[in-house]
Symmetry: C2
Subunit: 130 residues, 2 copies
DNA sequence: CAGTTGTTTGACGCTAACGTAAAGCCGTGA
DNA sequence: TCACGGCTTTACGTTAGCGTCAAACAACTG
């Protein structure tokens, strides 16, 4: 159901992914050097698969959320941990991270509300001009 | 209603604010050097008021959301712009920023949902052990 | 065969956001 | 008076996250 959908290519060059996600190849290599991804090799050349691509998506989302690569690395580990590990410890870590994210969610909602307020004020002022 | 509540001190030293918010005085001076705050001076000594303190709160919230000081600076400007400015331009900028924030909100909700899913899996596995 | 395109590994450069002395001024209490 | 804590500026150091060559190899193309 997952391992044989046989539709998307499942083989990507570093340039493929760089193009697709609008980042540099340098960035991708940097992520690898930090252990965030671990593509296979064909000789010396990196070969990326769906799994690597999926991880890249998570990395970029993490970046949009303002996380450091270190944080993102921990975050990715939570996914990997699914494949058998210290499960109790995993649950703790997940809860930790969820707390942070919910704080962030609260901050975000406050900020959005304040900006909408500002916009409202701006509009009422402008309603008398052209 | 706002200008004479006469309760909170309204006069803070740099160390006061550093303590209150758990940041370094160096950081506060750095924010000033970047124009994010502009405390008055008594001789050479910085004197902070409620307004400065309020700005600091916004700055720290921005940081929790992963924004750069540059971004936060722009963001603060939206508040200042309330005091008469190019109002149309203001509305545009606010809308721009709102878009980003809403993207971020979506990312965040996705991430939270995924983590909750992982936690659920962890719990069902652990339900058979001690 | 030469040239182009895509890949690799260094290695140095750069910006952001402070940390960390260093050295001096200023007011207060013993 | 003098030591002390708190404030100041100046300046160099540090980490993260890449950008930007440089030099070299590998495959394809004309």
């Amino acid at each position: 159901m997952t391992s044989s959908d046989a539709d998307s290519p499942d083989l990507y060059s570093i340039a493929d992914l760089a193009r697709e996600f609008g980042i540099s190849t340098r960035a991708i290599r940097f992520y690898e050097s930090k252990g965030l991804i671990a593509p296979e090799r064909l000789g010396a050349t990196r070969v990326f698969r769906r799994r690597d691509r999926a991880r890249l998506i998570l990395i970029l989302r993490g970046k949009r959320l303002g996380f450091s690569l270190r944080d993102i690395s921990d975050y990715l580990a939570l996914y990997d941990a699914d494949r058998g590990q210290q499960v109790n410890l995993l649950a703790e870590k997940v809860d930790e991270r969820l707390k942070l994210l919910e704080q962030q969610l609260a901050d975000l909602q406050t900020t959005i509300a304040e900006l909408q307020e500002i916009r409202k004020l701006a509009r009422t002022r402008v309603s008398s001009a052209s």
